[in-house]
Amino acid sequence: MRRSWFLTIAATLGFAFLYAPIISLVVFSFNESSLVTVWSGFSTKWYGALLADPQILGAAWLSLQVAFVAATIAVVLGTLCAVALVRFRRFRGRTMLAATVAAPLVMPDVITGLSLLLLFVAMEGIFGWPAGRGLMTIIIAHATFCMAYVVVVVQSRLTDLDLSLEEAAMDLGATPVRVFFDITLPIIAPALISGWLLAFTLSLDDLVIASFVSGPGSSTLPMVIFSKVRLGVSPDVNALATIIIGFVTLGVVAATLLQRRSRPKHPLP
């Protein structure tokens, strides 16, 4: 088909718009000067400063812990929920469950954060649990909103899964639970992995919800970054951003390559 110059230029400008700020951020992370926008020579000193900053390191460690546990809970619960929605066609409250699990996808973060905080406060008043807020409350909050994303990913994979595979296993003598662990789980494993990664990323990235439900002394990495950049640009944040972008890029490129590698080749003659 004929190439339209208009479209090509529009798309090129669009991609430039997406990437120019990121590229400039990466470039200025290697800037000598503490002014992040005026180039004064190559340096990696901001990376050194980053590694010497206990506040950032502590927050990063907390964020990783939260993301790891929250993503794992989200995958377990999200998978159960997806199985219930896809495999059990009829049960009471199915529509209710489907709507409730999808709702966090469109819920503004400020509402999710506020509502969970008010819940935790009320629960503490009534049951004495959770005592104060910190790691535990952030994990619960993140697992709840990440679960919705896991359900979407796993649900679409389960819908594509040929039901007769599960029936075949059952026919060969496997009980339903056995079928799940022998057949369903290994086949949907890629979806669980991408669901987990998505949940992990979303949790690492969340500022608003964590701000509501965290307690004193439990600042996550986004919270620390936010308080830093609110006061103005700071070159060590550029360095941190570059590291994160580097990891994400590696991950996405690797995932794309792996996916291409594992795609079944032509069947042998």
């Binding site: 798309a11 991609f15 005026v38 409250g93 409730t100 969970l116 609110r230 994160i244 994400v248 996405v252």
Partner: protein
């Protein structure tokens, strides 16, 4: 072939999982019920109940102490008394600040959505029509920012737009005076478009990539010019994608906090920010709760539109 007519009876053998199933069945729980119950209970406790709590607290008023709101139920000499305050909701309608914040949020979200659509559509179209080897790379370029930290991308944009930022340095090369972009509504628009562009492109792409190329050829064959073909074939067929993409931008934009907080000025009123300030700066929890409930109502309408767009897309897939 060994003798096949002697069927071996399945040997009785303890199965671990059937043991678990039996144990559960003994206390009257089926595996199926357990699978449904675990996520259902979690969502009830940590999603539905909190919303109810928000609603409850929105009907109290601020007081000093812990918790910083008046109790809903009081027990005075054995009679339980329920005290509801509608002040917070009255304030939402009478105080110019809140009305302006709601209207401004809707306006900013709407305008940004339109701009995102105008930028995203040609990009999605080009990706959808690109040769296979290019398509995957372009798609990856769209998805990559999606996985990158949202907060850091907003930060990157602020570095780009500030007074001595890259844009102004570039303009200075041509002797143009530096523009004031940061802490304006303009920066908020750019921020929303920038961060939510992938959300617009992806549903548009999935819709456009399925567009049958022969339809366009047929239209051209029947004498339609490219613009005519676009208006009468491509655009109507991609309507579900447009609607889905628009809602995916509009819904989070309306409740956005980070972008107005980092890029907007003090005059950039948006509900998300008002709620945040009400809670953190004024520690008026009941008022924040009322703002949240009102915000939910505002979000429900675009959510229903999104639902309809997705249903339409699914129906079309099943029909083809």
């Amino acid at each position: 072939m060994s003798s096949h007519d002697t069927h071996h009876a399945p040997p009785p053998r303890p199965r671990v999982w059937s043991g678990v199933e039996r144990a559960l069945a003994a206390v009257g729980i089926s595996g199926k019920a357990l699978v449904i119950a675990a996520p259902a209970i979690w969502l009830t406790v940590f999603f539905l109940v909190p919303l109810a709590v928000v609603f409850g607290i929105s009907l109290t008023i601020k007081q000093f102490g812990r918790p910083p709101y008046t109790p809903l139920l009081t027990n005075e000499e054995g009679t339980v008394q329920l005290t509801l305050h509608l002040n917070n909701y009255l304030r939402l309608f009478t105080d110019q600040l809140y009305v302006a914040a709601y209207l401004n949020s809707a306006k900013i979200a709407f305008i940004s959505t339109v701009i995102t659509l105008l930028i995203g559509y040609p990009m999605a179209y080009v990706i959808g029509r690109a040769p296979d080897q290019w398509r995957n790379i372009l798609l990856m370029l769209v998805i990559l920012p999606f996985w990158t930290s949202f907060l850091l991308r907003v930060y990157a944009l602020s570095g780009f737009m500030r007074g001595n930022g890259v844009i102004n340095q570039f303009l200075a090369l041509f002797g143009i005076e530096p523009l004031v972009m940061m802490q304006t509504d303009f920066a908020v628009y750019v921020g929303i478009v920038y961060t939510y562009l992938p959300f617009m492109i992806l549903p548009l792409y999935t819709n456009l990539v399925k567009l049958d190329g022969t339809l366009l050829e047929a239209s051209a064959d029947l004498g339609a010019r490219p613009v005519r073909t676009f208006l009468s074939i491509t655009l109507p067929l991609s309507m579900p994608g447009i609607l889905a993409g628009s809602m995916l931008v509009f819904i989070p934009a309306i409740g956005e906090f980070v972008i107005p907080a980092l890029l907007g000025g003090p005059g950039t009123l948006m509900i998300g920010r008002v709620l945040w300030d009400e809670f953190f700066a004024n520690t008026n929890w009941p008022r924040a709760a009322a703002v949240a409930i009102a915000m939910l109502v505002v979000v429900v309408i675009p959510v229903m539109l999104l639902q309809r767009a997705q249903d339409a897309m699914r129906d079309k897939e099943q029909a083809s």
